[in-house]
């Protein structure tokens, strides 16, 4: 495909824009329109009638959070068909991680074709910057950031560290209470 060049026309500085007053009136027109349209919608809803909502606000803790389809959230370790973790403990993710928050210890795998596997796999989400480099680096597609979980906060730093069973989803994360 040929590169298409689109010339963006610079806004011209005419006398009207230099005067500034016309632009102020235009801007006020826009904001007033939003104000009155939204007021109309709000009052319509308050009267119990159907209609468009007057605001786009999501009342998050009361209503569930709306995540995008491609939202990058908490990590998840994937398994092979036979149920063993896919991770081969190649340490590529640990190496690339800019926040240095992945700790992996390796051990021999019983399966000779795999050779190596992770004994422990800890991610300190308190340090993670959610850059997604670990997902990009993994050669065997063992780590994803699609757990769709954003409520990760805890009462102490130790609880921010997720270990391998938790990341695999075998054991639920039970944070300690204060």
């Amino acid at each position: 495909m040929a590169i298409t060049v689109r010339t963006v026309k610079r806004p011209e500085r005419t006398f009207a824009t230099e005067l500034y007053l016309v632009e102020i009136v235009k801007g006020l027109g826009l904001t007033f329109r939003h104000l009155f349209v939204n007021l109309y919608r709000h009052s319509k809803r308050a009267l119990g009638l159907k209609g468009l909502p007057g605001s786009v606000t999501v009342q998050y803790p009361d209503d569930p959070a709306v995540l995008g389809k491609r939202a990058r959230t908490r990590h998840r370790l994937l398994k092979r068909d036979d149920g063993a973790p896919r991770c081969t403990a190649c340490l590529l993710c640990e190496t690339i991680c800019p926040a240095k928050c992945i700790r992996i210890t390796a051990e021999n795998a019983p399966d000779v074709t795999v050779e190596k596997r992770a004994k422990t796999f800890d991610i300190d989400l308190g340090m993670c910057i959610f850059c997604g480099y670990c997902v990009e680096a993994c050669p065997v597609d063992a780590i994803h950031m699609d757990a769709n979980e954003v409520e990760l906060s805890s009462y102490n730093r130790k609880d921010m560290i997720w270990n391998m069973p938790e990341l695999l989803g075998d054991v639920p994360k039970t944070p300690s209470r204060p």
Binding site: G27, L28, T31, H34, G54
Partner: protein, 360 residues
């Protein structure tokens, strides 16, 4: 015990001043905090503050000003180590006091005859009302500069300097925009100016539309709100009140709102016909019989209601402007003031003088 003045005069004067400061000033200022949040939220497709509740009732977030007030009153009043203590405490008082004086000097209504005497509904009626209000508004900047200097912080001082420079930029335009109008009215008294508009049947805004725009622009600068919020710079830099907390900070906040009310009050009195309502003749309304002889009181209440209503409408417009425009840069404010508004105001004045001269 004898009073030098009749007792009911004193009581009435105190009542008027209390009404202007508490009834108009404080209540509208508190209300404005809510209006500011809700209006900006609605026009930006948001909901706005809606969490403060009493027994589960939120009433559109109307309790937020109360929550704000409680928070500001109970917060620690922190004075930093390097601050010059007396000045640090005095600065917000000066700012707020100037605002309060201006509020009390606005005309809320004319004179009504009731119970055998004339009641002047203007709290502080002065023959030099307009220049005095302008002077008091300008004097409010002393509070800002004092606050910046006394807080012993470079950031505060920077904010104060910006405030002073902005004052220099708009203060001249503010007065000179009014010059032509006052020349036409032939008075410096708010009440007289309103009477002139009533008796000639035309509001100042139609006589001097240019002066109205200039005064509105310069007036927005007085209130130190966006688009002229250089002294405060809420969004990124820190202003003159960076070292203030608790109610002292609250007083500065309130000064902003008070000054907005004052500017809108001056606009109402000089440009929008003050308390007058088109096609309503107040003297004849007050002179009617019936209603147990309370017609003069009703007329007075209508006058006050009309002027406060006009002030509220102007505040609504100013609020909308505040949430529509981006901030001016420092040099742009000075440019606007000195290179554009001031020459325009002076030309406006000269033309007015010539027209009036040729007319007579």
């Amino acid at each position: 015990m004898t009073f030098p003045l009749p007792l009911n005069d004193v009581v009435f004067a105190v009542a008027k001043i209390l009404f202007s400061i508490l009834g108009v000033g404080l209540s509208i200022a508190g209300f404005l905090g809510w209006v500011e949040r809700k209006q900006s939220a609605v026009m930006q497709d948001r909901i706005g503050a809606n969490r403060a509740s009493i027994f589960g009732f939120t009433v559109l977030g109307l309790f937020h000003p109360i929550a704000d007030a409680i928070k500001l009153l109970t917060k620690e009043d922190f004075v930093p180590k390097g601050a010059r203590k007396p000045l640090h405490g005095l600065a917000p008082i000066i700012s707020l006091g100037c605002g309060m004086f201006c509020l009390a000097a606005l005309p809320y209504g004319g004179v009504v005859d009731y119970a055998g005497r004339a009641w002047d509904l203007t709290p502080i009626a002065l023959p030099m009302g307009v220049p005095l209000v302008l002077a008091a508004l300008a004097f409010g900047v002393h509070g800002i500069v004092m606050a910046g200097y006394a807080s012993g912080s470079n950031y505060g001082l920077l904010g104060a300097m910006r405030g002073a420079a902005q004052m220099i930029a708009y203060e001249v335009c503010l007065a000179s925009a009014l010059a032509g109008l006052l020349f036409v009215y032939g008075t410096l008294d708010f009440t007289e100016a309103v009477r002139w508009q009533v008796s000639h049947g035309v509001w100042g805004i139609f006589l001097q539309p240019l002066a109205f725009i200039i005064f509105l622009t310069a007036g927005t600068a007085v209130t130190k709100r966006v688009p002229f919020d250089l002294p405060e710079g809420e969004s990124e830099i820190v202003g003159y009140h960076v070292e203030y907390s608790g109610m002292k900070f609250g007083m500065f906040m309130m000064t902003d709102f008070f000054e907005s009310i004052v500017i809108c009050g001056v606009i109402t009195a000089l440009f929008l016909g003050g308390w007058s309502i088109p096609f309503v003749d107040f003297p004849s309304l007050a002179g009617r019989s019936g209603l147990w002889g309370l017609w003069p009181v009703a007329a007075g209440a209508l006058m006050v209601g009309s002027s406060v209503g006009k002030i509220l409408l102007m505040l609504f417009l100013l609020m909308q402007v505040r949430w529509t425009l981006p901030r001016f840069r420092f040099d742009q404010v000075l440019d606007l003031g000195w290179k554009h508004l001031l020459p325009l105001a002076l030309i406006n004045f000269l033309v007015t003088v010539w027209v009036v001269y040729l007319w007579r």
